[in-house]
Amino acid sequence: MMAHTFRELVVGGVLVAPFVTYAVAGFAIIIVLRPLLNAVGFARMFSHAAIAQLSLYVAVLCLLMLLF
C-alpha cells in the first residue's frame, strides 16, 4: 500500500497544518470556478444549490488531499 505523506507549509518558521493548506486551496479553486458554474447554470440544476455547492467544495477538497 502506498502511504500518503502530508507536507507542512512553513511560513516564516510557523508550521501550517496540511489540512489548512488544502482547505484554503479548495476555497480558492471554488472561487475561480464560480463564473464557470454560473455559466452552466449550476445553481438552477439543484433544488438546494447551497448543499450542492458545499458538496462540490468537499469533493474538491478530497481530490486535493488525494492527489497532492
Partner: protein
C-alpha cells in the same frame, strides 16, 4: 421563487416559524462549534460559540459575509497585536497607549464604512485589546493566543455555514429582489403623487431614502451566497442607485407652482414643452430601474456597473476615533492606578463595548443598554452553570442545557422591538463568554464571580469615561454634514456619474437622519434644498455635455457658468436661444432648454421661499 412570501406564515406561540427555525439553527451551530472545538482540543472553545452568536444573521448570505469580514478583521487584529507587543513588550504604558491609538484608528475607519465592514474595522481594534492587553503580563503567549482565537473563530464560522446550508437558511438574494421590487412600487407611487400635486412630501421621501441607502451593505451580502451571487449583487446595486435617481428626480421635477406661471418670460408653449420633458425624463428613469430589476431577476451581468459611494465625513470620523482612544486611555490609566489583578480582562471587555458602541448612532446609549444587559447575562450564565449544569461533564447535557438560553436569545434577537432585539443579541454572545465552556469544565464560583464583576465594572467605568469625555454630539455632526453639503453645492465636481453622486448625497442625508436630523426641521430643509439644487445642476450638466454641436458649445459653457452662479435670467435667455436652434421638439437642444427652464424655476422658487422665510 418569490411566491412563497405571499403564503400565510406558520405561527407557533405567536412567533413565526422562520424565527423558530433561525433560533434552532443558531443552537445547533453552537453545539457543533463547541463539539468540534472540544474534539480539536482548542484552548478557547468559548470563542467558537461566541462566533456563532455573532454570526446569527437571518440569511445565509449575511452570515457568510459577516464571517468573511470577521476572519479578515481577526487576522488584521492579531497581526497588529503581535506588532504592538513586539515593539513595546516591556513598556506597559507605551503598550497601552499604542492599543488606544490603534483602537482610535480602527474606530475612525469604521465610521467611514457601513454594515459589516464597519463591524470588521472595530473588531480589528478590539482584537488587539483581547489579545495584547490580556497577555500584557506574559507577552510570549501573544502569538499562541492569537492562533487559538483564529482557530476557534474558523471553527465557529464553519459550524454556522454548515448549519445554514443543511437546515435551509433563507437566501438573501430572493429577499433582496422582493425588497427592491417593493421599493420600486413605492418610489413610483411617490413620483405620481408628487407629479399630480405640487407640494413635496418629505414624510414619504425621507424614509424611502433611508431604506434605499440602508440596503447598501446588505446588497454586498448576496455576493457570497451562490455562484451567481456577484452578478445578483452588482445588479441589485444598480437597482438601488437607479431607484434613488428616480426618487430624487421625482422630487425635483415637480410641476410648476401656480405663482410663477404668470411670469412674463413664461410662455404657455414653454410650459407645455417643459412639462412634456419632465414626463419623458421620469419615464426614462422608471424604465431604467425596470431594466435593472429585470437584469436582477434573470441573473445577467448588467450592461454598466454603477457604484454606490458613501459620503465620507472625515472630520466626524476622526473625532469619534479620537474620543474612543481617549476613553480607552482614561480607563487604562484608572486600571493601572488601581492595580487590580484582573484589570487586563476588564480592559479588553471595555475596549469591545466601546468599539461596538462607536458604530451605533448613540455610543453612550449603547453603553447604558450594555450596563443593564450585562447583569441579566451574568444571572442567566450563573443559572446555567451552577444550577442547571452544576458539575456535570457530559456533552449532551451541556447541549440540552444550552437550548433554552440560546434559542430564547435568538428568538429575542428576531423581535421587532429594538430593545428586546438588542438584549437578545447581547445574550447570544455574552452567555457563552460568561459560561466559558471548557473541557473539562472547572465550575469555579470564584472565577465566575470575578469575571462577572469585572465585566459589569468595566462597562460602568466606560460609562464614567464617556460622561467625562462625551461622544461627539449629534448637533455638531449635523452642522458638519450641512456645511459639507453647502460647500459641495458651490464647488460642483464632475468626477462621479450623476446617479452615483445622487446616491452619495442621499447617504449623507441618511447620516444626517441618524444624527437625530428628523427633529432639526430647519437644517433638514436646508439639507434637502442642497440635495435638490445639486440634483438639478447635475441633470442640466449631463444634458449640456450632450450638446455636441460646435456652434452651440460656447453657449453650453455659458450655461454651466450661469448654473454655478444661479443666474436664472441668463439661464432663461440661453434656453430661449437653444429652443430656437433646436431642429425638433425631442432633440437634445430642446431637452436641454426645457431642463434649464425647469432649473431656473426651481432656483427662483427656492429664492422666493427663503425670502418669505426671512420675512
Amino acid at each position: 421563487m418569490v411566491a412563497t412570501t405571499a403564503q400565510q406564515p406558520f405561527i407557533l406561540a405567536r412567533i413565526p416559524a422562520s424565527s423558530w427555525s433561525f433560533a434552532v439553527r443558531v443552537w445547533l451551530a453552537t453545539i457543533l462549534a463547541l463539539f468540534v472545538s472540544f474534539w480539536l482540543q482548542l484552548e478557547a472553545p468559548a470563542t467558537a460559540a461566541v462566533t456563532v452568536g455573532v454570526l446569527a444573521e437571518p440569511t445565509r448570505g449575511q452570515a457568510l459575509d459577516k464571517a468573511g469580514f470577521r476572519l479578515m478583521a481577526t487576522i488584521a487584529g492579531v497581526t497588529a497585536a503581535i506588532t504592538i507587543t513586539g515593539l513595546f513588550s516591556q513598556l506597559r504604558d507605551l503598550m497601552l497607549a499604542a492599543c488606544a491609538v490603534w483602537l482610535g484608528v480602527c474606530v475612525f475607519a469604521a465610521r467611514l464604512l457601513d454594515g459589516y465592514r464597519a463591524y470588521a474595522a472595530v473588531l480589528a481594534g478590539y482584537t488587539v485589546a483581547i489579545i495584547a492587553t490580556q497577555q500584557i503580563d506574559n507577552p510570549q503567549h501573544v502569538f499562541q493566543a492569537g492562533m487559538e482565537r483564529g482557530a476557534a473563530i474558523a471553527v465557529g464560522i464553519m459550524s454556522m455555514a454548515l448549519a445554514n446550508a443543511f437546515l435551509f437558511a433563507p437566501e438573501r438574494h430572493s429577499w433582496l429582489a422582493a425588497q427592491l421590487a417593493a421599493l420600486h412600487r413605492r418610489v413610483r407611487a411617490y413620483a405620481s403623487a408628487t407629479f399630480q400635486r405640487e407640494e413635496d412630501n418629505s414624510a414619504v421621501f425621507l424614509p424611502l431614502v433611508r431604506e434605499i441607502v440602508g440596503l447598501r451593505p446588505e446588497i454586498g451580502s448576496a455576493a457570497l451566497e451562490s455562484s451567481s451571487g456577484s452578478i445578483r449583487s452588482a445588479a441589485a446595486r444598480n437597482v438601488a442607485v437607479g431607484l434613488l435617481a428616480q426618487l430624487q428626480a421625482a422630487r425635483v421635477i415637480k410641476p410648476v407652482p401656480a405663482r410663477s406661471v404668470d411670469r412674463q418670460d413664461y410662455a404657455p408653449d414653454v410650459a407645455a414643452e417643459t412639462s412634456a420633458w419632465k414626463t419623458r425624463e421620469l419615464r426614462r428613469l422608471d424604465d431604467d430601474v425596470r431594466q435593472e430589476l429585470l437584469a436582477l431577476r434573470s441573473i445577467k451581468w448588467p450592461s454598466r456597473l454603477r457604484r454606490a459611494p458613501l459620503y465620507l465625513s472625515y472630520r466626524n470620523a476622526a473625532e469619534s476615533g479620537l474620543r474612543a482612544a481617549l476613553w480607552f486611555a482614561l480607563a487604562a490609566t484608572f486600571f493601572v492606578w488601581t492595580g487590580w489583578s484582573a484589570a487586563s480582562a476588564s480592559l479588553s471587555f471595555l475596549a469591545s463595548i466601546a468599539a461596538l458602541g462607536a458604530i451605533t448612532p448613540n455610543p453612550r446609549g449603547f453603553t447604558v443598554v450594555a450596563l443593564f444587559g450585562a447583569p441579566i447575562s451574568v444571572a442567566l450564565a450563573g443559572l446555567l452553570e451552577f444550577i442547571l449544569l452544576d458539575g456535570t461533564d457530559a456533552f449532551p447535557v451541556l447541549a440540552l442545557a444550552l437550548a433554552p438560553f440560546t434559542i430564547g436569545s435568538a428568538l429575542l434577537a428576531t423581535s421587532h422591538n429594538p430593545m428586546w432585539s438588542a438584549l437578545g443579541r447581547i445574550n447570544l454572545f455574552a452567555i457563552p463568554t460568561m459560561l466559558a465552556p471548557s473541557n473539562p469544565e472547572t465550575y469555579n464560583p470564584q472565577t465566575f464571580l470575578f469575571t462577572s464583576l469585572f465585566f459589569v465594572a468595566s462597562i460602568a467605568i466606560l460609562l464614567v469615561a464617556q460622561t467625562l469625555i462625551p461622544p461627539i454630539s449629534d448637533e455638531k455632526q449635523r452642522m458638519r454634514l450641512l456645511a459639507a453639503a453647502r460647500r459641495e453645492l458651490q464647488e460642483a465636481d464632475n468626477k462621479m456619474g450623476a446617479d452615483e453622486a445622487t446616491f452619495r448625497e442621499a447617504s449623507r442625508i441618511g447620516q444626517f437622519l441618524s444624527a437625530g436630523g428628523a427633529q432639526d426641521g430647519r437644517a433638514l430643509a436646508d439639507m434637502l434644498a442642497c440635495l435638490d439644487q445639486s440634483a438639478m445642476i447635475r441633470l442640466c450638466n449631463a444634458k449640456l455635455i450632450q450638446v455636441t454641436d460646435s456652434a452651440l458649445a460656447p453657449l453650453a459653457h455659458q450655461a454651466s457658468a450661469a448654473l454655478a452662479t444661479r443666474n436664472t435670467a441668463t439661464l432663461r435667455i440661453i434656453a430661449r436661444v437653444l429652443r430656437e436652434k433646436a431642429p425638433h421638439k425631442a432633440s437634445i437642444e430642446a431637452e436641454t432648454a426645457a431642463c434649464l427652464v425647469a432649473t431656473s424655476n426651481a432656483f427662483d422658487q427656492d429664492g422666493l421661499d427663503s425670502a418669505q422665510e426671512a420675512r
